[in-house]
Protein backbone atom coordinates (compact mmCIF):
# COMPACT_ATOMS: atom_id res chain seq x y z
CA UNK A 1 0.00 0.00 0.00
CA UNK A 2 2.76 2.45 0.94
CA UNK A 3 4.24 2.33 -2.55
CA UNK A 4 1.04 3.89 -3.83
CA UNK A 5 1.76 7.14 -2.07
CA UNK A 6 4.36 8.87 -4.14
CA UNK A 7 4.26 12.19 -2.31
CA UNK A 8 6.21 10.62 0.51
CA UNK A 9 9.78 11.75 0.01
CA UNK A 10 12.00 9.03 1.36
CA UNK A 11 14.79 10.01 3.77
CA UNK A 12 17.96 8.49 2.43
CA UNK A 13 20.75 9.78 4.64
CA UNK A 14 21.67 6.27 5.80
CA UNK A 15 20.09 4.36 2.94
CA UNK A 16 17.73 2.56 5.29
CA UNK A 17 14.59 4.05 3.81
CA UNK A 18 15.22 2.99 0.22
CA UNK A 19 12.64 0.73 -1.44
CA UNK A 20 13.48 -2.97 -1.55
CA UNK A 21 15.85 -3.97 -4.29
CA UNK A 22 16.97 -0.50 -5.30
CA UNK A 23 20.73 -0.10 -5.59
CA UNK A 24 21.06 3.43 -6.97
CA UNK A 25 19.13 6.64 -6.49
CA UNK A 26 18.94 9.35 -9.12
CA UNK A 27 18.00 12.86 -8.06
CA UNK A 28 16.45 15.15 -10.65
CA UNK A 29 15.87 18.75 -9.73
CA UNK A 30 14.74 21.09 -8.19
CA UNK A 31 16.72 22.84 -10.92
CA UNK A 32 17.51 20.60 -13.85
CA UNK A 33 18.05 21.24 -17.57
CA UNK A 34 15.31 18.74 -18.41
CA UNK A 35 12.61 20.49 -16.41
CA UNK A 36 11.75 24.11 -16.95
CA UNK A 37 9.82 24.23 -13.68
CA UNK A 38 11.15 23.42 -10.22
CA UNK A 39 10.16 19.95 -9.02
CA UNK A 40 12.33 17.40 -7.29
CA UNK A 41 12.13 13.82 -8.51
CA UNK A 42 13.99 10.93 -6.95
CA UNK A 43 14.20 7.74 -8.96
CA UNK A 44 15.24 4.50 -7.28
CA UNK A 45 16.78 2.08 -9.77
CA UNK A 46 18.03 -1.47 -9.85
CA UNK A 47 20.49 -1.76 -12.68
CA UNK A 48 18.81 0.00 -15.55
CA UNK A 49 15.24 -0.50 -14.38
CA UNK A 50 13.23 1.87 -12.22
CA UNK A 51 11.99 0.41 -8.92
CA UNK A 52 10.12 3.42 -7.64
CA UNK A 53 9.87 7.13 -8.33
CA UNK A 54 8.97 9.80 -5.77
CA UNK A 55 8.38 13.50 -6.02
CA UNK A 56 8.75 16.51 -3.80
CA UNK A 57 6.76 19.60 -4.74
CA UNK A 58 6.32 23.04 -3.28
CA UNK A 59 9.18 25.03 -4.82
CA UNK A 60 6.85 27.37 -6.61
CA UNK A 61 4.23 28.38 -4.04
CA UNK A 62 3.05 31.91 -4.78
CA UNK A 63 0.26 32.21 -2.25
CA UNK A 64 -2.39 33.13 -4.77
CA UNK A 65 -5.31 31.79 -2.74
CA UNK A 66 -4.33 34.00 0.18
CA UNK A 67 -3.68 36.95 -2.11
CA UNK A 68 -7.15 36.63 -3.59
CA UNK A 69 -8.77 37.01 -0.18
CA UNK A 70 -7.12 40.42 0.10
CA UNK A 71 -8.41 41.63 -3.29
CA UNK A 72 -11.84 42.33 -4.69
CA UNK A 73 -13.68 39.96 -7.01
CA UNK A 74 -13.03 42.37 -9.87
CA UNK A 75 -9.30 42.68 -9.23
CA UNK A 76 -9.04 38.92 -9.03
CA UNK A 77 -10.30 38.61 -12.61
CA UNK A 78 -6.86 39.75 -13.72
CA UNK A 79 -4.93 37.86 -11.03
CA UNK A 80 -6.47 34.48 -11.79
CA UNK A 81 -5.01 33.98 -15.32
CA UNK A 82 -1.57 34.16 -13.74
CA UNK A 83 -2.21 30.80 -12.08
CA UNK A 84 -0.71 29.20 -15.16
CA UNK A 85 1.60 30.51 -17.86
CA UNK A 86 0.01 28.52 -20.66
CA UNK A 87 -3.61 27.80 -19.73
CA UNK A 88 -4.50 31.27 -18.50
CA UNK A 89 -7.77 31.62 -20.41
CA UNK A 90 -9.32 28.48 -18.96
CA UNK A 91 -8.56 29.59 -15.40
CA UNK A 92 -10.22 32.90 -16.15
CA UNK A 93 -13.19 31.13 -17.72
CA UNK A 94 -13.73 28.97 -14.63
CA UNK A 95 -13.44 32.03 -12.40
CA UNK A 96 -15.87 34.26 -14.27
CA UNK A 97 -18.47 31.49 -14.50
CA UNK A 98 -18.18 30.92 -10.77
CA UNK A 99 -18.66 34.59 -9.93
CA UNK A 100 -21.51 34.96 -12.44
CA UNK A 101 -23.33 32.08 -10.81
CA UNK A 102 -22.85 33.57 -7.33
CA UNK A 103 -24.04 36.95 -8.61
CA UNK A 104 -27.04 35.25 -10.25
CA UNK A 105 -26.44 36.49 -13.79
CA UNK A 106 -25.28 33.27 -15.42
CA UNK A 107 -28.38 33.18 -17.67
CA UNK A 108 -27.86 36.70 -18.98
CA UNK A 109 -24.54 36.11 -20.73
CA UNK A 110 -25.12 36.52 -24.45
CA UNK A 111 -24.39 33.88 -27.06
CA UNK A 112 -21.76 36.11 -28.67
CA UNK A 113 -19.84 36.55 -25.42
CA UNK A 114 -19.91 32.81 -24.78
CA UNK A 115 -18.64 32.05 -28.29
CA UNK A 116 -15.73 34.47 -27.90
CA UNK A 117 -14.85 32.82 -24.58
CA UNK A 118 -14.90 29.41 -26.24
CA UNK A 119 -12.73 30.69 -29.07
CA UNK A 120 -10.15 31.85 -26.55
CA UNK A 121 -10.20 28.54 -24.65
CA UNK A 122 -9.92 26.38 -27.77
CA UNK A 123 -7.15 28.47 -29.32
CA UNK A 124 -5.32 28.03 -26.05
CA UNK A 125 -5.78 24.26 -26.17
CA UNK A 126 -4.32 24.20 -29.68
CA UNK A 127 -1.18 26.13 -28.78
CA UNK A 128 -0.69 24.26 -25.51
CA UNK A 129 -0.94 20.84 -27.15
CA UNK A 130 1.35 21.88 -30.00
CA UNK A 131 3.91 23.19 -27.56
CA UNK A 132 3.76 19.91 -25.65
CA UNK A 133 4.20 17.50 -28.52
CA UNK A 134 6.98 19.68 -29.89
CA UNK A 135 8.89 19.31 -26.65
CA UNK A 136 8.08 15.60 -26.55
CA UNK A 137 9.73 15.28 -29.97
CA UNK A 138 12.74 17.13 -28.53
CA UNK A 139 12.87 14.71 -25.58
CA UNK A 140 12.83 11.72 -27.90
CA UNK A 141 15.78 13.22 -29.75
CA UNK A 142 13.77 14.20 -32.83
CA UNK A 143 14.69 17.87 -32.94
CA UNK A 144 13.52 18.41 -36.52
CA UNK A 145 9.92 17.74 -35.53
CA UNK A 146 10.34 20.02 -32.52
CA UNK A 147 11.31 22.90 -34.81
CA UNK A 148 8.57 22.11 -37.31
CA UNK A 149 5.79 22.04 -34.69
CA UNK A 150 6.99 25.20 -33.00
CA UNK A 151 7.19 26.95 -36.37
CA UNK A 152 3.58 25.97 -37.07
CA UNK A 153 2.52 26.91 -33.56
CA UNK A 154 3.28 30.53 -34.44
CA UNK A 155 0.19 30.48 -36.70
CA UNK A 156 -2.19 30.02 -33.76
CA UNK A 157 -0.13 32.41 -31.63
CA UNK A 158 -0.58 35.06 -34.31
CA UNK A 159 -4.35 34.47 -34.31
CA UNK A 160 -4.50 34.82 -30.52
CA UNK A 161 -2.34 37.93 -30.66
CA UNK A 162 -4.54 39.39 -33.37
CA UNK A 163 -7.81 38.94 -31.49
CA UNK A 164 -6.63 39.72 -27.97
CA UNK A 165 -3.42 41.73 -28.22
CA UNK A 166 -1.44 39.17 -26.23
CA UNK A 167 0.22 35.92 -27.13
CA UNK A 168 -0.25 33.62 -24.15
CA UNK A 169 -2.43 35.59 -21.78
CA UNK A 170 -5.43 36.78 -23.79
CA UNK A 171 -7.39 37.85 -20.66
CA UNK A 172 -10.50 38.38 -22.79
CA UNK A 173 -13.04 37.46 -20.13
CA UNK A 174 -14.63 39.64 -17.51
CA UNK A 175 -17.33 38.95 -14.96
CA UNK A 176 -20.47 39.41 -17.03
CA UNK A 177 -19.04 38.77 -20.48
CA UNK A 178 -15.97 39.58 -22.54
CA UNK A 179 -14.07 42.81 -22.94
CA UNK A 180 -13.38 42.71 -26.68
CA UNK A 181 -15.41 41.78 -29.70
CA UNK A 182 -14.16 39.47 -32.43
CA UNK A 183 -15.06 41.53 -35.51
CA UNK A 184 -15.70 40.07 -38.95
CA UNK A 185 -12.47 41.28 -40.54
CA UNK A 186 -10.39 39.51 -37.90
CA UNK A 187 -12.45 36.34 -38.30
CA UNK A 188 -11.89 36.45 -42.07
CA UNK A 189 -8.17 36.88 -41.46
CA UNK A 190 -8.08 33.95 -39.04
CA UNK A 191 -10.03 31.43 -41.16
CA UNK A 192 -7.37 30.67 -43.82
CA UNK A 193 -4.73 30.52 -41.10
CA UNK A 194 -6.77 27.90 -39.21
CA UNK A 195 -7.21 25.85 -42.39
CA UNK A 196 -3.46 25.99 -43.00
CA UNK A 197 -2.81 24.84 -39.46
CA UNK A 198 -5.21 21.89 -39.81
CA UNK A 199 -3.11 20.65 -42.75
CA UNK A 200 0.08 21.09 -40.73
CA UNK A 201 -1.29 19.25 -37.67
CA UNK A 202 -2.45 16.40 -39.90
CA UNK A 203 1.14 16.20 -41.14
CA UNK A 204 2.44 16.17 -37.53
CA UNK A 205 0.06 13.33 -36.76
CA UNK A 206 1.33 11.44 -39.78
CA UNK A 207 4.91 11.78 -38.50
CA UNK A 208 3.95 10.69 -34.98
CA UNK A 209 2.13 7.58 -36.23
CA UNK A 210 4.32 6.53 -39.16
CA UNK A 211 7.90 7.58 -38.43
CA UNK A 212 9.55 4.52 -36.87
CA UNK A 213 12.18 6.42 -34.86
CA UNK A 214 9.53 8.25 -32.85
CA UNK A 215 6.94 5.46 -32.67
CA UNK A 216 9.50 3.01 -31.27
CA UNK A 217 10.44 5.56 -28.64
CA UNK A 218 6.84 6.00 -27.44
CA UNK A 219 4.97 2.80 -28.10
CA UNK A 220 4.50 0.49 -25.07
CA UNK A 221 6.50 2.89 -22.94
CA UNK A 222 5.08 3.76 -19.53
CA UNK A 223 1.83 1.85 -19.82
CA UNK A 224 -0.89 2.97 -17.41
CA UNK A 225 -3.72 0.46 -17.38
CA UNK A 226 -7.35 1.46 -16.95
CA UNK A 227 -7.49 -0.17 -13.49
CA UNK A 228 -4.45 1.80 -12.34
CA UNK A 229 -5.90 4.94 -13.86
CA UNK A 230 -9.15 4.47 -11.93
CA UNK A 231 -7.18 4.06 -8.72
CA UNK A 232 -4.74 6.94 -9.19
CA UNK A 233 -7.34 9.41 -10.56
CA UNK A 234 -5.47 11.13 -13.38
CA UNK A 235 -7.40 13.62 -15.48
CA UNK A 236 -7.37 15.10 -18.93
CA UNK A 237 -5.34 13.56 -21.76
CA UNK A 238 -3.44 11.35 -19.28
CA UNK A 239 -6.70 9.63 -18.32
CA UNK A 240 -8.11 9.65 -21.84
CA UNK A 241 -5.01 7.85 -23.10
CA UNK A 242 -5.81 5.05 -20.63
CA UNK A 243 -9.39 4.51 -21.71
CA UNK A 244 -11.26 6.77 -19.31
CA UNK A 245 -13.55 8.74 -21.65
CA UNK A 246 -14.09 11.79 -19.46
CA UNK A 247 -13.86 15.30 -20.81
CA UNK A 248 -15.76 17.94 -18.85
CA UNK A 249 -16.86 19.60 -22.09
CA UNK A 250 -18.91 16.41 -22.69
CA UNK A 251 -19.57 15.06 -19.19
CA UNK A 252 -20.71 18.32 -17.61
CA UNK A 253 -21.03 20.82 -20.47
CA UNK A 254 -20.39 24.50 -19.85
CA UNK A 255 -20.58 27.55 -22.14
CA UNK A 256 -21.96 26.24 -25.48
CA UNK A 257 -19.97 23.03 -25.84
CA UNK A 258 -23.13 20.89 -25.97
CA UNK A 259 -24.32 23.06 -28.86
CA UNK A 260 -21.30 22.52 -31.08
CA UNK A 261 -20.39 19.49 -33.13
CA UNK A 262 -17.22 17.82 -31.88
CA UNK A 263 -15.98 14.36 -30.97
CA UNK A 264 -14.62 13.07 -27.70
CA UNK A 265 -11.14 11.60 -28.19
CA UNK A 266 -9.86 8.70 -26.17
CA UNK A 267 -7.50 5.77 -26.59
CA UNK A 268 -7.30 2.56 -24.60
CA UNK A 269 -3.62 1.59 -24.99
CA UNK A 270 -2.41 3.61 -22.01
CA UNK A 271 1.16 4.19 -23.23
CA UNK A 272 2.85 7.52 -23.91
CA UNK A 273 1.98 7.22 -27.61
CA UNK A 274 -1.72 7.04 -26.69
CA UNK A 275 -1.58 10.29 -24.69
CA UNK A 276 0.29 11.87 -27.60
CA UNK A 277 -2.39 10.79 -30.06
CA UNK A 278 -5.12 12.07 -27.72
CA UNK A 279 -3.50 15.47 -27.82
CA UNK A 280 -2.94 15.41 -31.58
CA UNK A 281 -6.55 14.46 -32.25
CA UNK A 282 -7.79 17.03 -29.76
CA UNK A 283 -5.78 19.70 -31.52
CA UNK A 284 -7.55 18.84 -34.76
CA UNK A 285 -10.95 18.77 -33.03
CA UNK A 286 -10.26 22.17 -31.44
CA UNK A 287 -9.20 23.66 -34.79
CA UNK A 288 -12.44 22.44 -36.39
CA UNK A 289 -14.31 23.85 -33.43
CA UNK A 290 -12.62 27.22 -34.00
CA UNK A 291 -13.95 27.25 -37.57
CA UNK A 292 -17.46 26.45 -36.33
CA UNK A 293 -17.28 29.18 -33.71
CA UNK A 294 -16.21 31.73 -36.34
CA UNK A 295 -19.15 30.68 -38.53
CA UNK A 296 -21.60 31.05 -35.66
CA UNK A 297 -20.16 34.43 -34.69
CA UNK A 298 -21.34 35.86 -38.02
CA UNK A 299 -24.96 35.64 -36.90
CA UNK A 300 -24.63 35.53 -33.10
CA UNK A 301 -25.66 38.72 -31.43
CA UNK A 302 -26.08 40.11 -27.95
CA UNK A 303 -24.44 42.48 -25.55
CA UNK A 304 -20.82 41.70 -24.80
CA UNK A 305 -20.77 42.78 -21.18
CA UNK A 306 -23.43 42.71 -18.48
CA UNK A 307 -23.39 44.97 -15.47
CA UNK A 308 -22.44 43.22 -12.25
CA UNK A 309 -22.60 44.71 -8.77
CA UNK A 310 -19.23 44.66 -7.02
CA UNK A 311 -20.71 43.01 -3.93
CA UNK A 312 -21.38 39.31 -4.41
CA UNK A 313 -24.09 37.84 -2.23
CA UNK A 314 -23.36 35.01 0.21
CA UNK A 315 -22.96 31.54 -1.20
CA UNK A 316 -20.56 28.93 -2.42
CA UNK A 317 -20.14 27.25 -5.77
CA UNK A 318 -17.80 24.87 -7.54
CA UNK A 319 -16.95 25.12 -11.22
CA UNK A 320 -14.81 22.95 -13.43
CA UNK A 321 -13.51 23.18 -16.96
CA UNK A 322 -11.40 21.07 -19.25
CA UNK A 323 -8.01 22.77 -19.37
CA UNK A 324 -5.46 21.57 -21.95
CA UNK A 325 -3.87 19.44 -19.21
CA UNK A 326 -7.06 18.15 -17.63
CA UNK A 327 -9.62 19.01 -15.05
CA UNK A 328 -9.37 22.52 -13.65
CA UNK A 329 -11.48 23.08 -10.54
CA UNK A 330 -12.23 26.23 -8.57
CA UNK A 331 -14.27 26.47 -5.39
CA UNK A 332 -15.34 29.92 -4.24
CA UNK A 333 -17.10 31.11 -1.10
CA UNK A 334 -18.61 34.60 -1.04
CA UNK A 335 -19.55 36.39 2.17
CA UNK A 336 -21.63 39.28 0.89
CA UNK A 337 -18.75 41.76 0.58
CA UNK A 338 -16.73 42.61 -2.52
CA UNK A 339 -13.94 40.22 -1.51
CA UNK A 340 -13.95 36.42 -1.50
CA UNK A 341 -14.13 34.62 1.83
CA UNK A 342 -12.19 31.67 0.46
CA UNK A 343 -11.07 30.71 -2.99
CA UNK A 344 -9.58 27.35 -3.86
CA UNK A 345 -7.79 26.56 -7.12
CA UNK A 346 -6.61 23.17 -8.19
CA UNK A 347 -4.82 23.10 -11.52
CA UNK A 348 -4.80 19.76 -13.38
CA UNK A 349 -1.11 18.85 -13.11
CA UNK A 350 -1.26 18.02 -9.39
CA UNK A 351 -3.82 15.29 -10.05
CA UNK A 352 -1.66 13.75 -12.76
CA UNK A 353 1.61 13.38 -10.85
CA UNK A 354 0.72 10.09 -9.11
CA UNK A 355 -0.31 8.39 -12.33
CA UNK A 356 2.82 9.59 -14.13
CA UNK A 357 5.11 8.27 -11.40
CA UNK A 358 3.25 4.95 -11.57
CA UNK A 359 4.11 4.77 -15.29
CA UNK A 360 7.82 4.73 -14.38
CA UNK A 361 7.68 1.40 -12.52
CA UNK A 362 9.80 -1.23 -14.24
CA UNK A 363 10.79 1.03 -17.14
CA UNK A 364 14.30 1.89 -18.33
CA UNK A 365 15.98 5.01 -16.99
CA UNK A 366 16.40 6.13 -20.59
CA UNK A 367 12.61 6.42 -20.90
CA UNK A 368 12.37 8.71 -17.89
CA UNK A 369 12.34 12.07 -19.77
CA UNK A 370 9.56 10.91 -22.10
CA UNK A 371 7.39 9.49 -19.32
CA UNK A 372 7.79 12.44 -16.99
CA UNK A 373 7.01 14.73 -19.92
CA UNK A 374 3.78 12.83 -20.62
CA UNK A 375 1.71 14.73 -18.06
CA UNK A 376 2.74 18.06 -19.60
CA UNK A 377 4.60 20.13 -17.03
CA UNK A 378 4.06 23.71 -18.11
CA UNK A 379 6.13 26.86 -18.55
CA UNK A 380 5.86 30.25 -20.22
CA UNK A 381 7.40 31.15 -23.51
CA UNK A 382 7.21 34.89 -23.72
CA UNK A 383 10.80 35.58 -24.55
CA UNK A 384 10.08 38.09 -27.29
CA UNK A 385 8.14 41.25 -27.69
CA UNK A 386 6.87 43.22 -30.67
CA UNK A 387 6.92 46.97 -30.39
CA UNK A 388 4.69 49.03 -32.65
CA UNK A 389 5.17 52.75 -33.01
CA UNK A 390 1.66 54.11 -32.80
CA UNK A 391 2.19 57.19 -34.95
CA UNK A 392 4.16 55.65 -37.80
CA UNK A 393 3.02 52.02 -37.63
CA UNK A 394 6.66 50.86 -37.64
CA UNK A 395 7.15 47.36 -36.20
CA UNK A 396 10.23 46.01 -34.47
CA UNK A 397 10.73 42.56 -32.95
CA UNK A 398 13.35 42.22 -30.25
CA UNK A 399 14.49 39.63 -27.72
CA UNK A 400 14.28 39.93 -23.97
CA UNK A 401 17.86 41.18 -23.46
CA UNK A 402 17.66 43.77 -26.18
CA UNK A 403 14.31 44.95 -24.87
CA UNK A 404 15.58 45.20 -21.30
CA UNK A 405 18.71 47.08 -22.39
CA UNK A 406 16.69 49.52 -24.41
CA UNK A 407 14.21 50.07 -21.60
CA UNK A 408 17.00 50.74 -19.09
CA UNK A 409 18.69 53.21 -21.43
CA UNK A 410 15.42 54.96 -22.18
CA UNK A 411 14.78 55.38 -18.45
CA UNK A 412 18.36 56.41 -17.65
CA UNK A 413 18.60 59.12 -20.29
CA UNK A 414 14.91 59.97 -20.10
CA UNK A 415 14.32 59.55 -23.80
CA UNK A 416 11.56 57.85 -25.80
CA UNK A 417 11.76 54.16 -26.54
CA UNK A 418 12.01 54.57 -30.32
Amino acid sequence: MAEDFRSRFRVLTDGSDAPLGADHHIFVGPQHPWAEEPAHFIIHVKGERVVEANIRIGFNLRGMEKAMEARTWRQNTMLIPRACGICSAVHQNVYVRLVERLAGIEDQISERARLIRMFSCEAERVHSHMLWYGILAHDTGFDTLFHVTWRDREIIMDIVEDISGNRVNPALMLIGGVKRDLPKERADKARPMINDLIKQVEYHKKVFTEEASIVNRLENVGVLTKEDAKKLTPNGPTARGSGLPYDIRKTFPYELYDDIDWNLVYYTEGDVLATTLVRLDETLESLRMLNQILDRLETASGELLQRVKPRISEGKYMTRAEAPRGEDIHYGIANGTDKPERYKIRAPSLGNIDATLKRMDGEYIADMPVILRSYDPCFSCTNRVMIINQSTGEKKIMGQDEFALKAIKAKKYNRPFF
Binding site: F5, S7, T233, P245, Y331, D354
Partner: protein, 173 residues
Amino acid sequence: MSDALSELENILNITIPKDFVEEVVKVEEGHFDIISPFEKAYALMKILHDDAGIYHLTTISAYEKDDSFNVCYHIQHRIEEEVKEIPINFIITKIDKDNPKTPSMIDFFVAADYYERECYDFYGIYFNDHPFMERLILPEKWPDDVRPMKKEYSWEQIREITLNLAKQISEDD
Protein backbone atom coordinates in the same frame (compact mmCIF):
# COMPACT_ATOMS: atom_id res chain seq x y z
CA MET B 1 -33.94 18.44 1.64
CA SER B 2 -35.64 15.08 1.35
CA ASP B 3 -36.29 15.69 -2.37
CA ALA B 4 -32.64 16.28 -3.06
CA LEU B 5 -31.65 13.30 -0.92
CA SER B 6 -34.02 10.91 -2.68
CA GLU B 7 -32.94 12.22 -6.09
CA LEU B 8 -29.30 11.64 -5.21
CA GLU B 9 -30.12 8.17 -3.87
CA ASN B 10 -31.84 7.36 -7.17
CA ILE B 11 -28.87 8.53 -9.22
CA LEU B 12 -26.34 6.65 -7.10
CA ASN B 13 -28.64 3.64 -6.63
CA ILE B 14 -27.95 3.40 -2.87
CA THR B 15 -29.73 4.26 0.35
CA ILE B 16 -28.11 6.77 2.64
CA PRO B 17 -29.01 6.40 6.34
CA LYS B 18 -30.82 9.53 7.52
CA ASP B 19 -28.54 10.22 10.47
CA PHE B 20 -25.40 10.14 8.30
CA VAL B 21 -26.23 13.41 6.57
CA GLU B 22 -27.12 16.81 7.94
CA GLU B 23 -28.37 18.06 4.64
CA VAL B 24 -28.31 17.35 0.92
CA VAL B 25 -28.51 20.40 -1.33
CA LYS B 26 -29.18 20.30 -5.04
CA VAL B 27 -26.95 23.07 -6.38
CA GLU B 28 -28.14 22.71 -9.99
CA GLU B 29 -29.14 19.90 -12.33
CA GLY B 30 -26.78 17.00 -11.61
CA HIS B 31 -24.64 18.78 -8.99
CA PHE B 32 -25.09 18.11 -5.27
CA ASP B 33 -23.74 19.17 -1.90
CA ILE B 34 -23.71 16.52 0.84
CA ILE B 35 -23.18 17.96 4.30
CA SER B 36 -22.14 15.47 6.94
CA PRO B 37 -20.81 15.73 10.52
CA PHE B 38 -17.29 14.43 10.93
CA GLU B 39 -18.27 11.51 13.18
CA LYS B 40 -20.29 9.94 10.35
CA ALA B 41 -18.17 11.09 7.40
CA TYR B 42 -16.00 7.99 7.10
CA ALA B 43 -18.95 5.60 7.13
CA LEU B 44 -20.82 7.70 4.58
CA MET B 45 -17.80 7.91 2.27
CA LYS B 46 -17.48 4.12 2.56
CA ILE B 47 -21.04 3.77 1.26
CA LEU B 48 -20.37 6.21 -1.58
CA HIS B 49 -17.12 4.48 -2.55
CA ASP B 50 -18.04 0.82 -2.10
CA ASP B 51 -21.73 0.75 -3.01
CA ALA B 52 -22.10 3.66 -5.43
CA GLY B 53 -18.68 3.05 -6.97
CA ILE B 54 -17.36 6.60 -6.80
CA TYR B 55 -13.62 6.48 -7.44
CA HIS B 56 -12.66 9.94 -8.64
CA LEU B 57 -11.57 12.59 -6.14
CA THR B 58 -10.83 15.91 -7.81
CA THR B 59 -9.55 17.89 -4.84
CA ILE B 60 -10.12 18.76 -1.20
CA SER B 61 -10.73 22.31 -0.01
CA ALA B 62 -10.67 23.33 3.62
CA TYR B 63 -12.18 26.55 4.91
CA GLU B 64 -13.11 28.26 8.14
CA LYS B 65 -16.73 28.59 9.08
CA ASP B 66 -17.51 30.58 12.23
CA ASP B 67 -15.55 28.77 14.97
CA SER B 68 -15.01 25.48 13.20
CA PHE B 69 -13.26 24.10 10.15
CA ASN B 70 -15.04 22.56 7.19
CA VAL B 71 -13.38 20.20 4.75
CA CYS B 72 -14.92 19.70 1.33
CA TYR B 73 -14.13 16.62 -0.78
CA HIS B 74 -14.97 17.28 -4.43
CA ILE B 75 -15.85 13.83 -5.79
CA GLN B 76 -17.32 12.82 -9.13
CA HIS B 77 -19.82 10.07 -9.77
CA ARG B 78 -19.03 8.81 -13.26
CA ILE B 79 -21.45 7.04 -15.58
CA GLU B 80 -19.29 5.63 -18.34
CA GLU B 81 -22.08 4.50 -20.70
CA GLU B 82 -23.60 7.97 -20.83
CA VAL B 83 -20.23 9.82 -20.62
CA LYS B 84 -21.60 11.83 -17.74
CA GLU B 85 -20.34 13.08 -14.40
CA ILE B 86 -22.32 14.01 -11.30
CA PRO B 87 -20.15 16.34 -9.20
CA ILE B 88 -20.69 15.99 -5.47
CA ASN B 89 -19.24 18.33 -2.86
CA PHE B 90 -18.89 16.20 0.24
CA ILE B 91 -18.64 18.72 3.07
CA ILE B 92 -17.49 17.60 6.52
CA THR B 93 -18.60 20.12 9.12
CA LYS B 94 -18.01 20.96 12.78
CA ILE B 95 -14.31 20.15 12.99
CA ASP B 96 -13.09 21.61 16.27
CA LYS B 97 -10.82 24.58 15.65
CA ASP B 98 -8.63 24.12 18.74
CA ASN B 99 -7.95 20.46 18.07
CA PRO B 100 -8.80 19.93 14.40
CA LYS B 101 -9.03 16.23 13.62
CA THR B 102 -11.02 14.45 10.95
CA PRO B 103 -10.92 10.95 9.41
CA SER B 104 -8.61 10.47 6.45
CA MET B 105 -10.23 9.18 3.25
CA ILE B 106 -6.97 7.76 1.94
CA ASP B 107 -8.42 4.22 2.14
CA PHE B 108 -10.80 5.12 -0.67
CA PHE B 109 -8.81 7.57 -2.78
CA VAL B 110 -5.04 7.38 -3.29
CA ALA B 111 -5.14 10.98 -4.52
CA ALA B 112 -6.33 12.13 -1.09
CA ASP B 113 -2.70 11.84 -0.02
CA TYR B 114 -1.60 15.12 -1.66
CA TYR B 115 -4.74 17.07 -0.89
CA GLU B 116 -5.01 16.08 2.78
CA ARG B 117 -1.38 16.93 3.35
CA GLU B 118 -2.00 20.27 1.66
CA CYS B 119 -4.88 20.98 4.09
CA TYR B 120 -2.64 19.98 6.99
CA ASP B 121 0.00 22.35 5.70
CA PHE B 122 -2.26 25.37 5.25
CA TYR B 123 -4.78 24.91 8.09
CA GLY B 124 -3.25 22.43 10.54
CA ILE B 125 -6.17 20.02 10.16
CA TYR B 126 -4.94 16.58 11.23
CA PHE B 127 -6.31 13.66 9.22
CA ASN B 128 -6.52 10.56 11.45
CA ASP B 129 -5.04 7.33 10.11
CA HIS B 130 -3.15 9.02 7.30
CA PRO B 131 0.10 6.97 7.05
CA PHE B 132 2.47 9.94 7.09
CA MET B 133 0.84 13.23 7.94
CA GLU B 134 3.67 15.59 7.08
CA ARG B 135 3.88 18.99 5.47
CA LEU B 136 3.75 19.01 1.69
CA ILE B 137 4.19 22.45 0.21
CA LEU B 138 5.50 25.06 2.63
CA PRO B 139 9.28 25.47 3.05
CA GLU B 140 11.10 23.23 5.54
CA LYS B 141 11.99 26.11 7.84
CA TRP B 142 8.47 27.56 7.91
CA PRO B 143 7.41 28.11 11.58
CA ASP B 144 5.27 25.17 12.72
CA ASP B 145 2.64 27.23 14.52
CA VAL B 146 1.86 29.47 11.54
CA ARG B 147 -0.87 28.01 9.35
CA PRO B 148 -0.97 30.64 6.63
CA MET B 149 -4.48 30.20 5.21
CA LYS B 150 -6.16 30.84 8.57
CA LYS B 151 -8.08 34.10 8.79
CA GLU B 152 -6.08 35.25 11.82
CA TYR B 153 -3.11 35.90 9.53
CA SER B 154 -3.49 38.78 7.15
CA TRP B 155 -1.86 38.95 3.74
CA GLU B 156 0.69 41.49 5.04
CA GLN B 157 1.66 39.29 8.00
CA ILE B 158 2.27 36.29 5.77
CA ARG B 159 4.38 38.42 3.47
CA GLU B 160 6.46 39.60 6.42
CA ILE B 161 6.98 36.04 7.71
CA THR B 162 8.02 34.90 4.23
CA LEU B 163 10.51 37.74 3.81
CA ASN B 164 12.01 37.09 7.26
CA LEU B 165 12.33 33.42 6.43
CA ALA B 166 14.07 34.16 3.12
CA LYS B 167 16.46 36.53 4.89
CA GLN B 168 17.21 33.97 7.58
CA ILE B 169 17.86 31.21 5.05
CA SER B 170 20.18 33.39 2.97
CA GLU B 171 22.13 34.35 6.12
CA ASP B 172 22.44 30.70 7.16
CA ASP B 173 23.90 29.82 3.79
